[in-house]
Symmetry: C2
Subunit: 568 residues, 2 copies
Amino acid sequence: MPEQRELTIQGWGRPTRPRDATVTTGAAGDDGTLELTAFPDLAEVLSKGARRYLARELGWTPRPTRPVAVGAIRLAPSRLAEECRTRLVELLGEDHVRTDRDSRLRHAGGKSYLDLLRRRAGDASDAPDAVLTPGSTEETAALLALCSEMAVVVVPFGGGTSVVGGLSGIDPDDRPSVSVDLGRMASVRSLDVPSSLVTVQPGLRGPALEEHLAGHGLTLGHLPQSWEFATLGGYAATRSAGQSSTGVGRFDDLVAGVTLATPAGVVELGSPPASAAGPDLLGLALGSEGALGIITELRLRVRPTARSQAYEGWSFRSWAAGLAGLQQLARHDLLPDVVRLSDPDETRANLQMAGGTGAKALRGTLRARRRGAGCLLVVGWEGLPSLVRARRRAAASVLRDAGAARVGRRVGESWRRHRFAAPYLRDSLMDAGLLVETLETAAPWTALPAVYDAVREALHASLRRSGKRPLVMSHVSHGYATGASLYVTVLADRDDALPIQQWLLAKRAATDALLAAGGTLTHHHAVGADHRPWLEREIGPLGVEVLRAVKQRLDPQGICNPGVLLPD
Amino acid sequence: MPEQRELTIQGWGRPTRPRDATVTTGAAGDDGTLELTAFPDLAEVLSKGARRYLARELGWTPRPTRPVAVGAIRLAPSRLAEECRTRLVELLGEDHVRTDRDSRLRHAGGKSYLDLLRRRAGDASDAPDAVLTPGSTEETAALLALCSEMAVVVVPFGGGTSVVGGLSGIDPDDRPSVSVDLGRMASVRSLDVPSSLVTVQPGLRGPALEEHLAGHGLTLGHLPQSWEFATLGGYAATRSAGQSSTGVGRFDDLVAGVTLATPAGVVELGSPPASAAGPDLLGLALGSEGALGIITELRLRVRPTARSQAYEGWSFRSWAAGLAGLQQLARHDLLPDVVRLSDPDETRANLQMAGGTGAKALRGTLRARRRGAGCLLVVGWEGLPSLVRARRRAAASVLRDAGAARVGRRVGESWRRHRFAAPYLRDSLMDAGLLVETLETAAPWTALPAVYDAVREALHASLRRSGKRPLVMSHVSHGYATGASLYVTVLADRDDALPIQQWLLAKRAATDALLAAGGTLTHHHAVGADHRPWLEREIGPLGVEVLRAVKQRLDPQGICNPGVLLPD
């Protein structure tokens, strides 16, 4: 994957000053150097006004809390037995069984706040003992069988962007583990234009697929925030939802079939366009998070590139009015392709923190209409011009009836420009002493207000208990006829003595609260290691037993990502 | 269920002369009488021209082949042990454990051509030993546990409309069996209008639900041909698709959650509106056909009643042109809510057999345009007037580019009026010596022409081998972005000596052919007993093993409808 951009070991994306900060003092890496990860300084990415706003809201003073040098990250020696390594090399070739420090560090954990806290503190205890790069379904199936025989844990690795500990599970039997990086299996296998189906390998990323499809006037249209780095196999394994999911559907809806390699063999799942030949087994592979095997091929539904796109902003006076307006759109199948309704706290923060003339103009518009900040709604329409026109017109009438005012296209376009920005900003915020994390859920429309209140209250109460004043910003990020998802961003002054505990307590309180109020454990981040204590509350003890029975059949030795999804 | 219409024991729907044909000669029923099932004579339901057309096409002469009297149907004594009966009565009450002849006959098998052949010939060997009518989830779960303990097979009964032997499975261990009729569990439990969710019991039928919803300006919109009799639980258990499925979605898409009672306990599945909390277990209950347990409650997505409806006909010169036109609509998300494209044989038969001025006018229109019969397309649009208008206009332009000509609204309205008629007609056709059966599949657009050719060729070859000249009529019945379903109706002079073998051979040939050509085993009729020999070809040996593992966990004694879905 040299042609693809890499995530950094201690943060998101490529540092702005790659490797120029390498120094030669302190603890040494494999090459005797100490590489510093250098993220942009907060002053480079946030205006003075924005920094002041945060300082005031959070009762926080920016302070440098940079990560330890990469060379100083502690990494235990590989525990992969020489006999195992030899057999894996026989299968995959010397180049595709790596135990070097850099490979292992680059495959240690994902990109949750907790993952980053550990990596920034020099902890890589979740690093695999080796990194394998199979080249085909057959090699993947063979390595799974081999690892099953040799009692070696297998953790599939796509983009490494999990934010729920999907790569940080702990094997209860503490066996050696390998990361299976699918980066060599990253090509488009075939395209069936009349059937709108593309067949791809799991290590392919969104940008590469979109580039390929654009040549045929087609698009997949799946755009989560991790789009630049995440892989298509990863989307399937975690039941991802893109920012346009209201229009193009969740990733689930785009998958017509997958090939799943398991320790027990290979299974082909899915019969496009639809089938009634028994229960849907494809749905078992989607969201299986590597715990049932490794997805080695996917058939995906594509569509013609939208001929018309229109993004715009609307403003509601209150959160309740905004939810009611969206719900009216939803009932009548009038939801836009993209729909994001920010609550008052997120709206205010966005208006305060957004730079440039656009934000200024918007503040002016709102002032002129005497609306206060209210709740900002960003909507996006895509498709045939005549249908976009008809849908927009019908929706505008519903929105106006619900008390919303149009605030122009600039807001929509600005959101589009910055749609992938948040995780980059997180690195700089963490460097300045902040806790920065997100969580998400979904609920039926009638339960949504209670879920919203419960999550906010739980987060505030938990973080205030440790003496901090959090900023909790929420938005509806995906709409459905029956309900919507809620995405919550939390900022707070970090407790530098016990940063992991600080967040674990808040997360636990929020999760308990959202489940009790009728929300789902996760709408699009998956279960991973972080959510699995709650899985039984979501699907019941018998539901867990059903999953266990499936796993037992496909992975009898329990080597497939044992620390995620299923509770111990 | 006294307020609901009943299917007849030997056919579809209520006979036109109910019970007035009761005679008192011949073998006697429980009450000493011999009830004759009297379906309308063919001359009452088909015009002279239509009958002549069929006679000519099929090389067949109508002959009376009426069913044996109901009283003459052979029924073995109930094998339910007295101890079992006593314990079931303790659980459900005396009224809800029936072993009388009428109850058992009314729950014998479904309504496939093979089911009807058996019942018309006086064979009720697939009748249950008793009929249970539980009143709640708890009672259902308790009876499943009890039957599991007592080694009694349980076959759930909704509307009894299965056409794939879903109620005619044979238990390899030949244990006594009970039919669990869900007719007492037929109410609407709650309606959440803002979330567009209705909670219903499984024995409720479509008409009753639609009546309830209409009072709130809502509809479910699921309209399969069996709509008058089938139940909502049955739709879920068989992954049904309604005639408007292109618009409102398959039944799968309408189910937000179910309660599944199993011998191992009760499990609640589904988290509306969407979840990424592990694999989709709801998808295991949908299509489980009673083999994993009994669905005792459903949460369904409803929508506002369409304010505008427009049905119309189009004509293509050829099948290839018609498929290409639909595929263009599909790619661009312009498919109408209802879409039915008949092949030349079906178009010709419809034009010949349809009575009234409408058909005459249509024949005139087509003659005037020098199109011959060609291929008729019926489309239906439903929704907000402005959106229906925009979608129709965009689709019309695509259809015209594909060479189609509009032939007016009458065709569309006529199809709507007769949408539930075919199964009634079947009874009269069978009375006159005909084989009448349907089968269906689905395939990606690129595979569809080959699947179509393969099925037709297989049916023709098989039925000609027995010296008959079949009429094989096909239509595309549901469209998707990635492909479409194909629905095939077969008529032929019945082989009265070996009628079951005649069809089994044809069905086997057609199924082998459609699978080899890339079709799915079934698009919306389910697996039942009839398709299960092919399930492994559809989902692979490991797929079958996964299903077995799930069944083993939920139904360790294998009492849940053991003769369907999973191969022995």
